[in-house]
């Protein structure tokens, strides 16, 4: 991780004229061989060191906990149990199912948000009048706290006084949304989509406004219809921006569970018990922090792999532009 020996011109000029820096670097490093040396290094130092402090130490502790039985009373104490917690992972049928549901939930929510968000952005982009007002209103859900989205979802689907329950009944659906496994799962998925589609739409719209108009003119002169224009000109040029949206959503989609926790609590019949709900239960209902650490690390690993894949795609797209 040391900086490249060839360095560069811009980096060597700075140390001689130290301007008013907001924060001094952690260590006055002059040699270019040290990481975080040079002007760029000093710029990065405060942020990265702080980030390291708030993330690496807890991570190390979680890894230690995953190999231990965690005692809380009288101060935290770790009693080493080897790979016992990890071994349990492979014999735990709940965990396997939780991951299946997580995968489905991830694909449906993030996929739905990407598709609907892009579609919405294209509609807004084609809208001649009232685009601003519409966008302002459509963005609102992303400003709602997830815990409120969960409670609001519960309020709307309550089988006694929920507005949506009443609307569904007018439409001839007399079941109880949260009582059936499929509809409960659909409901929590839709709540997540409700909250996060606007973010994707916003990012996609930002991408759309940069599509070169010359290319669009050319396409319309060729007589290409909207679908073909979208497919061959618009989508390729906003693909990198969409990947950014995808990355932002995938970072959070696996971790957040406020909506599920506040509506179904994982039921009925475990239908909405995703890995993050299970993690929360293991830690704070069962106080089994060793096994929770294992679950947490697994989630981190999966998120990392997924994100890594999207970043690779992004990097592959970047040079093309």
């Amino acid at each position: 991780m040391d900086s490249s020996p060839t360095g560069n011109v811009r980096e060597t000029g700075s140390p001689a004229t130290p301007p008013a820096r907001p924060t001094p670097p952690a260590r006055p490093a002059r040699r270019a061989a040290l990481p975080l040396a040079g002007f760029n290094g000093r710029m990065m130092a405060p942020g990265l060191l702080l980030l390291a402090a708030v993330s690496l130490l807890p991570l190390a502790a979680v890894i230690a906990m995953s190999f231990a039985r965690v005692h809380l009373l009288g101060g935290l104490r770790l009693e080493g149990v080897g790979a016992e917690n990890w071994a349990r992972l492979f014999t735990d049928p709940d965990m396997a199912w939780a991951w299946v549901r997580t995968a489905v939930y991830f694909v449906l929510t993030v996929g739905g948000e990407m598709a609907l968000g892009t579609a919405l952005a294209v509609c807004l982009w084609r809208l001649r009048r009232g685009r601003n007002a519409a966008l302002s209103l459509l963005l609102l859900p992303m400003f709602v706290a997830p815990v409120i989205v969960g409670l609001l979802g519960r309020f709307l689907t309550d089988s006694t006084f929920g507005l949506y329950t009443w609307l569904l009944r007018q439409l001839g659906y007399n079941g109880d949304v949260m009582a059936d496994q499929t509809s409960a799962f659909a409901a929590v998925t839709l709540m997540d989509i409700w909250e996060w589609t606007p973010l994707v739409a916003l990012i996609a719209l930002a991408g759309l406004t940069t599509v070169p108009s010359s290319a669009l003119e050319a396409a319309s002169l060729d007589g290409a219809g909207l679908p073909r224009t979208l497919r061959h000109i618009v989508l390729p040029s906003i693909a990198p921006v969409l990947l950014v949206a995808l990355l932002i959503r995938s970072m959070d989609a696996l971790r957040y569970f406020d909506i599920i926790w506040n509506t179904t609590g994982g039921g009925p019949a475990n239908a909405t018990k995703t890995a993050s709900v299970q993690l929360y239960e293991t830690a704070f209902r069962f106080f089994d922090f060793g096994y929770a650490a294992v679950t947490g690390l697994l989630m981190l690993a999966v998120t990392t792999v997924v994100a890594r894949y999207f970043v690779r795609l992004l990097e592959r797209k970047e040079p093309a532009r």
Binding site: L72, L73, T160, F161, A179, P268, N270
Partner: protein, 488 residues
């Protein structure tokens, strides 16, 4: 890891006794650590017992329950009495359990007084609470008015003790109990027709059985236009489902573990093998499944709160629910709701008692503990309980026998009542008799066992498993959980 974080008893404590010794050591270590971070309690040794700790500020962490709402709304009497200020943090139960666990993990306590849910807090962390007998016997401290003996015995044992050490770790603070709540107006209107059709007197009484409850519910489904369904239940995949099912399980002579008194009333870390595979338990589950088939289908989305709201909205004619909903019922359906002990099964009637006590943390300094005792003492005193009953913001119901004899309170058992929760007095007093008491296992790993039970029941409603299959699957899981043991 810093030395502070790893401070604690050096080796795993295997037996309960060793565990307690370790915790005592940890407690004293916590005192030292605690002194560094927080100011100790003020002490004026010459003052009167109630005034000795004037100037101290205590932290009380509580679930957002009715008595806490009433106390939080008016703390003035306590501050005037003692000169102690109290910060109250109210949270919902799972958040409370989370904060308390973390507080203990840090080795020095932030909270002096803790709302100690017997199953999520008291049983797992019994060693972290002070034995209150010590304060009661201390001549320098004010004694409990009426002593420990004034608390209803079932409450003191269940909410206040853990294990057979004889210690009192918490003072009974609230006492929600499951009773049969029914629309008395509808029973009156249809009583004779029902009696003709069904062949028995439907009026809820000590002789009513679950089979009759089932028949009444079914009758209401098709005969009464005021309600959509006869019965509703708290059958969401949630703690509430275990509570609702347990009443039926026990009345069918089923049980979670052998020796229900030892496991339920006093609590243990080693409950033995799970008994849900028994024929009685399976029969209970079969009946419960059958009952849910005639119940409002939305039952599967309700916890106790959703069920309470449904009952108040008038969509169901009856339900088993916590008696503390009486006040809200009386507001929504004035004069129309009756309360009775839950029906009998083949073995007995069982109504779950779900009360909780408030405990004094053992990981704060000795002086703070003594100041905390003043608060616990005051907050459960008969006088406070009477004024809670009349409070506009909350209520709760008394845990002390003497309060149930106060003329004002006795009067409130009949309508018109200024303390509408007292309308349930007869039903709950019947439920608290030893023969009718329903107590879930008080074991430190109950959170996980509870989850196994309500998850399997939820799968049973979904048709994924048969009642017998659900009981066996739950038993298998519980045995695995208890086999891992508990050494926190």
């Amino acid at each position: 890891m810093s030395s502070r974080l790893s401070a604690g008893p050096p080796k795993p404590a295997m037996s309960r006794r060793a565990l307690l010794r370790g915790a005592a050591a940890a407690g004293s270590a916590g005192v030292l650590a605690g002194c560094a971070g927080r100011p100790d309690a003020h002490l004026d040794a010459d003052a009167a017992p109630w005034k000795r700790y004037a100037g101290t500020t205590l932290n009380f962490i509580s679930e957002n329950t009715a008595p806490t709402a009433a106390i939080a709304a008016d703390l003035r009497p306590f501050t005037e009495l003692t000169g102690i200020r109290v910060n109250i943090v109210t949270l919902e139960l799972s958040a409370l359990a989370q904060k308390v666990a973390l507080d203990f993990a840090s080795g020095n306590g932030e909270y002096d007084v803790v709302y100690a849910d017997p199953y999520l807090v008291l049983a797992p962390y019994a060693a972290a609470f002070a034995d209150l007998r010590e304060f009661q016997e201390d001549p320098a401290l004010p004694r409990l008015p009426g002593g420990f003996g004034d608390f209803i015995p079932a409450h003191l044992d269940t909410a206040g003790r853990f294990g057979d050490s004889g210690k009192v770790l918490a003072l009974p603070y609230d006492c929600p109990t499951m009773v049969w709540q029914y629309r008395a107006d509808l029973f009156e209107e249809y009583g004779e027709r029902m009696a003709d059709d069904l062949g028995f007197d439907p009026t809820p009484s000590d002789n009513s059985t679950w089979e009759q409850y089932h028949a009444i519910a079914k009758w209401f489904n098709s005969h009464a236009h005021q309600v959509r369904y006869g019965t509703g239940h708290q059958a969401k995949q949630h703690d509430a489902l275990m509570c609702d099912f347990s009443n039926v399980l026990w009345s069918y002579d089923g049980s979670y573990f052998a020796d229900g008194t030892r496991v339920g009333r006093f609590g243990t870390t080693d409950p033995g093998k799970c008994l849900l595979r028994s024929d009685a338990a399976v029969a209970g589950a079969e009946f419960y499944d059958r009952l849910l088939r005639v119940a409002d289908p939305a039952s599967r989305t309700w916890d106790w709160d959703g069920l309470g709201a449904a009952f108040r909205s008038g969509r169901i004619a009856m339900c088993p629910n916590w008696h503390e909903y009486a006040a809200a019922n009386e507001t929504a359906l004035p004069g129309k709701v009756g309360y009775a002990r839950l029906p009998k099964g083949p073995a007995r009637s069982a109504g779950m008692y779900g009360g909780t006590g408030i405990a004094v943390s053992n990981v704060v300094s000795a002086r703070r503990r003594r100041a905390a005792w003043l608060f616990a003492n005051w907050a459960t005193a008969p006088k406070t309980q009477v004024s809670n009953l009349a409070s506009k913001v909350g209520g709760g119901t008394p845990t002390r026998a003497s309060v149930y004899a106060v003329p004002r309170v006795v009067e409130a058992e009949q309508r018109p009542s200024k303390m509408p929760n007292m309308l349930t007095a007869e039903a709950v007093k019947a439920a608290w008799k030893d023969a009718n008491l329903g107590l879930r296992p008080k074991i430190p790993m109950w959170g996980e066992c509870d989850t196994a039970i309500y998850t399997e029941l939820s799968r049973m409603f979904a048709g994924e498993v048969s009642p017998g299959g659900a009981m066996r699957a739950a038993a298998d899981r519980i045995d695995r959980i208890t086999a891992r043991g508990w050494v926190n």
